[in-house]
């Protein structure tokens, strides 16, 4: 990808976000469920209801509500949550790091597992054991992340109670960190007891998110490796007497990684979507868990903020993946 392409993609970001904003804003007001109806106290009169509606600006025409909100967002004010009584931006900044850390850990686990499985599969190519690898990949792919979450919760929380199954950190531990990137900060500042406690809590939700992703990485990478291994350059290397593992690691893998990164990158965005249910199941305090509460409470400002945040994350991730693919693929780098 050239600089011109990057600039073109960046220029498209504001209209994309505007489109997302329009869709979420209109959808929220069209689908059933009125936040005011949910907070009407017993005995409230029509005047009380009207006052509540005015308090949250919901008495204005949709267009006016939208322009007011958009103006606020442009100035960095995402409004105030109806259910939590706090600024939406403040809430997002508080919870987003937890989700990012979980997604990063899940991605790391998925990549390591996926690459190792693909390499194992290719090394066993043509043997019966390859079927077992392919079958394992199929099973991992067939089960969605939220179901993995329940399976892991029952196995490692109940049957073999080795790992905690709720929260981000043990309630008995005083975290006292400066940022909300607990894991990163505790690692960087050498507070390993906290880092261990965090990893202890993150391992199951991260694994639930990682397993289907790992299977996808393994399947794409194994197919790419198979194709690359049959290419002339691999055959020539073999003729020169290089060992198969050497060829796989140094010649075949770098070329096979390009389609894996491109397709696997898309999966990272899906993984972020998966955090919603997985965070809920493990009572993990990220934005996914918060999104469910926001929807249940019809907390319009918070839902709007969350959707925009997810949109920004998706766009940034896609851009980052394209850049990585460009770096990996000299054909793209040099046009």
């Amino acid at each position: 990808m050239r600089w011109g392409e990057i600039i073109r993609r960046l220029v498209l970001v504001p209209p994309t976000l505007f489109g997302v904003a329009v869709i979420v804003f209109v959808l929220l007001r069209v689908v059933p469920g009125d936040p005011i109806a949910m907070m009407i106290p017993p005995g409230a009169s029509e005047a009380d209801i009207a006052r509540l509606r005015a308090l949250y600006g919901l008495d204005q025409p949709i267009l006016q509500q939208f322009s007011t909100w958009l103006g606020q967002v442009a100035s960095g004010d995402f409004g105030k949550s109806i259910s939590v009584h706090q600024g939406v931006l403040e809430l997002l900044l508080e919870r987003l790091p937890a989700t990012i850390e979980l997604a990063l850990l899940a991605t790391l686990i998925a990549v390591v597992l996926g690459v190792l499985t693909a390499l194992a599969g290719i090394l066993l190519r043509g043997r019966r054991a390859e079927w077992a690898v392919d079958g394992g990949i199929g099973v991992l792919l067939a089960i969605p992340d939220f179901l993995w979450a329940l399976i892991l919760l029952l196995v490692f929380g109940v049957l073999l109670p080795w790992l905690p199954i709720s929260g981000r950190v043990d309630p008995q531990i005083d975290v006292h960190l400066h940022s909300n990137f607990y894991l990163l900060e505790s690692l960087l500042t050498g507070r390993f007891a906290i880092a261990f406690a965090l990893l202890h809590h993150m391992i199951l939700p991260a694994l639930a998110l990682a397993l289907p992703f790992a299977a996808l990485v393994a399947r794409i990478l194994k197919a790419s490796l198979t194709e690359a291994e049959d290419q002339d350059y691999a055959q020539i290397a073999r003729a020169r007497g290089y060992s198969r593992p050497d060829i796989l690691l140094h010649e075949v893998l770098p070329n096979a990684l390009i389609p894996t990164v491109a397709l696997g990158g898309v999966q990272v965005t899906l993984l972020l979507g998966g955090t919603v249910l997985v965070e809920r199941i493990f009572s993990y305090e990220g934005i996914g868990n918060m999104a469910i509460d926001a929807v249940i409470n019809r907390d319009f400002p918070l839902i709007q903020g969350l959707v925009l945040t997810f949109a920004v994350l998706f766009i940034a991730l896609n851009l980052a993946i394209d850049l990585i693919v460009t770096v990996l693929d000299p054909r793209l780098r040099h046009g």
Partner: protein
Amino acid sequence: MSSLSRRSILQLAGGAAALPFASALPGTGAAHAAASGTLTIAYNVNLPSFDPTIGVSAVNPTIQSIYQSVFDPYIGQAADLSFKPGLLTKWGWNEDRSKIILELRKDATWHDGSPVTPEDVVWSLTRAADLKGGNPIQFVWSKVGNYKIDGNTITGDVLEFEPTLFKWMAFLTGYILPKAYYEKVGAEGFEKAPIGSGPYKVDAFERNAFLRLKAHPGYWGGKPAFETVVFKFITDPTSRVAEMESGGSDLTFEIPYEEFDRLKAKPGLAGQTKPVSDIAMIFITDIDPMLDRNVRLAAHHAIDKKAIVDRLLKGYGVPISTLEAPGYAAFDPSIKVSYDPELAKSLLAKSGYSPEKPVKFTIQTTRGFKPKDYEMIQAIVGMWRKVGIDANIEIYEIAKHFELRARHALAPAAFYNWGNAIGDPSTSTGFAMFGPSPHCAWKGKDLVERIGPLWGEKDEAKRIAGYKAVDKYITEEGEVIPLFQYVQPIIHKKGLKVVSQSNGMILPQLITPA
């Protein structure tokens, strides 16, 4: 700030590798009992906000257990819904009911050690009554004003008589907050570091994860048994069950009845149930075909409530005939609606309906919002079909229910649950059946005329008798279908003594080692 050295990375890598094994060792894993002196509760909802007097969470009954751990209500409530001294030791009206008189206890302190003063009480009441303050029950608190303080006695002028005023002082938004502290830190500062006068003070809070409380040493009611209480916010019932099985929590509630029966049979765990002030009901909307009294009554008589409770809820429910459950102030055991499918058939026949030529309408229900809600409605529709009612089930989210109810746009029949933690008839029959109420589905003038005069009735005995008469009338006319009173299942570790509350609250201050 220490830097990340090669050695520390190696330590971390080694530690990470050993993590699953280390956690399996006795005493180190989450699977083992909570630390001594700590009570861990797997709680079913998140805590959105700390201010118990404003916004949506203030009127969410399921959060009140947490609020009542940190804040004191004006008036306390016993396990059987009766009222007892809280921060107020005396309360009442003067003879002509033109004034209220409150007496504040002298030994109460805020969590920062400062005394709870009559000024705090007046400020809290005045703030609650402020139209711009955001208190959802403002319409109650605004009926008293012009407070005067004399020692520890507070008097206020009754601006409009509200018979349930003191009952509200034990429930939603009825909390005393610290005037001086709140004014010093402001609303946002209070959210970040709230203080109350309750048995526990806030020690740590991780939104959507947990709330850690420490015992308030100066609590007027005596120091609670547990030094530390942790509310883990685990909203998914399956996860709460797993949390109990893993040993990560000491107590949980609001779990499926099948799981309750399974867990209570496990070694180390005990279960207890208690009927709570929450009922299942079917709203009848006064639109065609529910304008036909025969159809309404037939729909009620055709439902075998006991069978529903026994078969779907494993016996955990109490069939009821009116919106007043046993224990409520206006409960009248003489009002009964029999399960009589033959009577239902004959009533429908009078209106020209039969199983071959059924009356048709839609019934709305949630699915999974309450235990077995959809299955229950399926069973009811099956019972109706046998007598000549062909009901179509429409599933909706609870948010849609609220919206439709507020717009008087519910289907002819709509399943819902109604809580009434203070047990007063105005907060059950009153708000659910009085036409002008936004929560009412039956808007008929008949009930407006009957309930209207009871709102301001100063003679308590006459008011309660009036509601009993209204309940009898509603039953005879079939204007609502009460189904059963919910039973709350509580699972806890053996070795704990838990006092179940009829209002459904789980109060850590009432939990002690057995």
